[in-house]
């Protein structure tokens, strides 16, 4: 087990190094930052000075090594556009995105698993057929359209919920949270649904198909033949056996929720890292883009590591070498 974890951590580091290389390459290959930073009126001396100051005159490998060292310490340089350390800007923006992602992930998982189980158990029911048909809409409509539709219905027509922003936020330590004010909570609803709807339908359809598969297994028949209650058969015996594939996909989707919050944040003008990234692209603010790329890859890798460990918690067959009974 320890060997497995170490191997996975090692693999994760390799992945991060590769992503780091891509992120770093942007500095060298996507335009010349010197052009962006210095205005029209510049001298060759200015350019040389700045080039030296930023370390751009050094060989590629040395620059990469410096970049990695700085990145490992959370130092991604200074934003070209805002002139402030990138790490500071990211930390400021991260709570908004993480809170939004957490709420929509919770929404997607709770509703996805619940509805998935329901539609699998009541396979031929009217309600589950209806849910399955509606879920097709969730899968096929693009996120921005769902966002705009929700804004139109709930913000414009009904005026129940705000159409943009985070509402009032409270500072708790260095973390700005919208969970503690009613306007903050209200502001979360529409973006969270928009962001989580696709993942929710995906999880629901996956849980349903896995459940249908598991419900055909002999041990489910045997559980019924032993006279267990339907609830025990469905949840204790069946649902648990669907969890390995469901957790795999859910883990990846969780990463996707954070990574692709960009669109939702743009539609709802949500002040998170996604919106920051979009603005950074418009201004070719490479340090911000590179840092965002690294942040997302760290999250993906971290989530995958957790998913792998969860397998062990769920499936005893993977916990090899327990030494019992062999």
């Amino acid at each position: 087990m320890l060997a497995f974890v170490l191997r996975r951590v090692f693999q994760s580091i390799i992945v991060l190094l590769v992503v780091g290389l891509v992120a770093f390459s942007m500095f060298t290959f996507v335009g010349d930052p010197i052009d962006n930073m210095l205005g029209q009126e510049r001298t060759q001396a200015d350019i040389e000075r700045l080039r030296q100051q930023l370390g751009l005159d050094q060989p590629f490998v040395v620059q990469y090594w410096n970049f990695l060292q700085n990145a490992a310490q959370g130092n991604f340089g200074v934003s070209y556009r805002q002139g402030r350390p990138v790490s500071e800007i990211l930390l400021e923006r991260a709570p908004a995105t993480l809170e939004l992602a957490a709420v929509s992930a919770l929404f997607a998982m709770a509703l996805g698993i619940g509805l998935g189980v329901f539609t699998a158990i009541r396979r031929d029911g009217v309600a589950s057929n209806l849910i399955m048909s509606i879920s097709l809409i969730g899968v096929s409509l693009p996120t921005f359209l769902i966002g705009i539709l929700l804004i139109w219905v709930f913000a414009v027509e009904l005026s129940w919920l705000p159409s943009f922003g985070r509402g009032e936020v409270v500072q708790v330590g260095g973390w700005s949270t919208g969970f503690l004010t009613s306007s903050g909570l209200k502001a979360l609803i529409l973006p969270a649904i928009t962001l989580g709807l696709y993942q929710m339908t995906l999880i629901m359809r996956l849980v349903r198909s896995e459940m249908l598969e598991v419900l055909r297994q002999d041990y489910i028949r045997f559980a019924r033949a032993r006279g267990l209650r339907e609830r025990a058969v469905n949840f204790r015996h069946a649902l648990k056996n669907t969890l390995v594939p469901v957790i795999t996909v859910t883990g990846l989707q969780l990463g996707a929720i954070i990574a692709f919050a960009i669109i939702t944040e743009t539609v709802f003008q949500w002040p998170g890292v996604g919106l920051l990234f979009i603005n950074a692209i418009q201004f070719v603010d490479i340090p911000v883009m590179a840092a965002y790329l690294m942040l997302i890859s760290v999250m993906f890798v971290g989530i995958n590591l957790i998913v792998d460990l969860l397998y062990f918690a769920i499936d005893p067959r993977l916990r090899a070498g327990r030494g019992k009974g062999h």
Partner: protein, 329 residues
């Protein structure tokens, strides 16, 4: 027989399909007395398992009971609502499935699976259930039961798992156990042990057994009476020694002829020509007549012979080995 544990009366199971309504079980009747072991033999698809599933109320849709009745200790159970039937399963009727490798939930310890069954039916505490689970494992011959109770199914061999399955089927002390091909998936060397175990435990508790198998040897060793099933109908029903020793139905005789015997030397094994008709393509008259060496004109005419219409032993118009047929020769 009113004191029978299980009475099946003219049971009909139907599967509606787009083209026709199939009858995998068609007018099957039998009784099982307390402590009796009834063997049910037949080819694959003859309706053996379907009958077992109908008794415990676990037919897979769209199959359903469309006629006849099933009585457990004199009470009808075929028309019970799902919730009441559920309470009988495990508590009154236990079931052992064919494949022990897939019958146990891989993610729960065998102790958990035993406990949940006993807590559900016997209403005992978690601690008491654990104690009884260890005793149950001990009884089915799991060595070191107290240490193995927290093991997962994959940590046991196939034979050991079938022992666990038997412990599970018997742990709430049902009065009837349906064993659906309990040894088919096991090694030959383990088969005899499992059958002996099942027989011993049921004798000790006076539990009746409906033993579904296609293994004549198992039937000969274990069962008190035997029911031979062909194309969803009973072909022959009677005490084991009589049915196997002097089969009356030509089909049973054919089955006996196709069982290899160690003493028979290297003689070519007899086989019944043709194969069992598919459901929905049953011939008129006796379903066995196209393969029967003794078929005559009345066999091809409606209606098909039933046990009740014949002598109660073999559903055949021209039984072999019967006193009448021998007198005629």
């Amino acid at each position: 027989m009113t004191d029978a544990v299980l009475s099946v009366r003219d049971l009909v199971v139907e599967i509606p399909t787009r083209h026709a309504v199939l009858k995998p079980v068609d007018g099957v009747s039998f009784d099982i007395a307390p402590g009796e072991i009834l063997g049910v033999v037949g080819e694959s698809g003859a309706g053996k398992s379907m009958t077992g599933n109908a008794v415990i109320g676990l037919l897979d849709r769209p199959a359903h009971i469309s006629g006849g009745e099933i009585l457990l200790k004199g009470q009808r159970i075929d028309n019970l609502p799902y919730a009441r039937m559920r309470k009988l399963r495990g508590a009154e009727i236990g079931m052992v499935f064919q494949d022990p490798l897939t019958s146990l939930n891989p993610l729960l310890t065998i102790g958990d699976q035993l406990s949940e069954t006993m807590i559900e039916h016997l209403g005992i505490s978690q601690a008491e259930a654990r104690k009884r689970a260890i005793a149950a494992l001990d009884e089915v011959g799991i060595p070191g039961a107290a240490d193995r109770i927290d093991s997962y199914p994959h940590e046991f061999s196939g034979g050991m798992r079938q022992r666990v399955v038997i412990a599970l089927a018997l742990c709430a002390e049902p009065s009837l156990v349906i064993a659906d091909e309990p040894t088919t998936a096991l090694d030959v060397s383990v088969q005899a042990q499992i059958i002996a175990l099942l027989r011993r435990l049921c004798r000790e508790r006076d539990t009746s057994v409906m033993l579904i198998t296609h293994d004549m040897g198992v039937i000969a060793e274990t069962a008190d009476r035997v029911a031979v099933v062909y194309a969803g109908r009973l072909a022959e029903l009677g005490p084991v020694a009589e049915v196997l020793g002097r089969p009356r139905h030509p089909y049973t005789e054919g089955l006996m002829g196709s069982t290899p015997a160690a003493s028979a030397g290297r003689a070519r094994l007899h086989q019944i020509p043709g194969s069992m008709p598919r459901l929905g393509h049953l011939p008129p008259g006796c379903p066995f007549h196209p393969r029967c060496p003794k078929a005559q004109d009345d066999c091809r005419a409606d209606p098909a012979p039933t046990l009740a219409a014949c002598n109660g032993r073999a559903a055949c118009w021209h039984p072999v080995n019967s006193p009448e047929s021998e007198a005629a020769e």
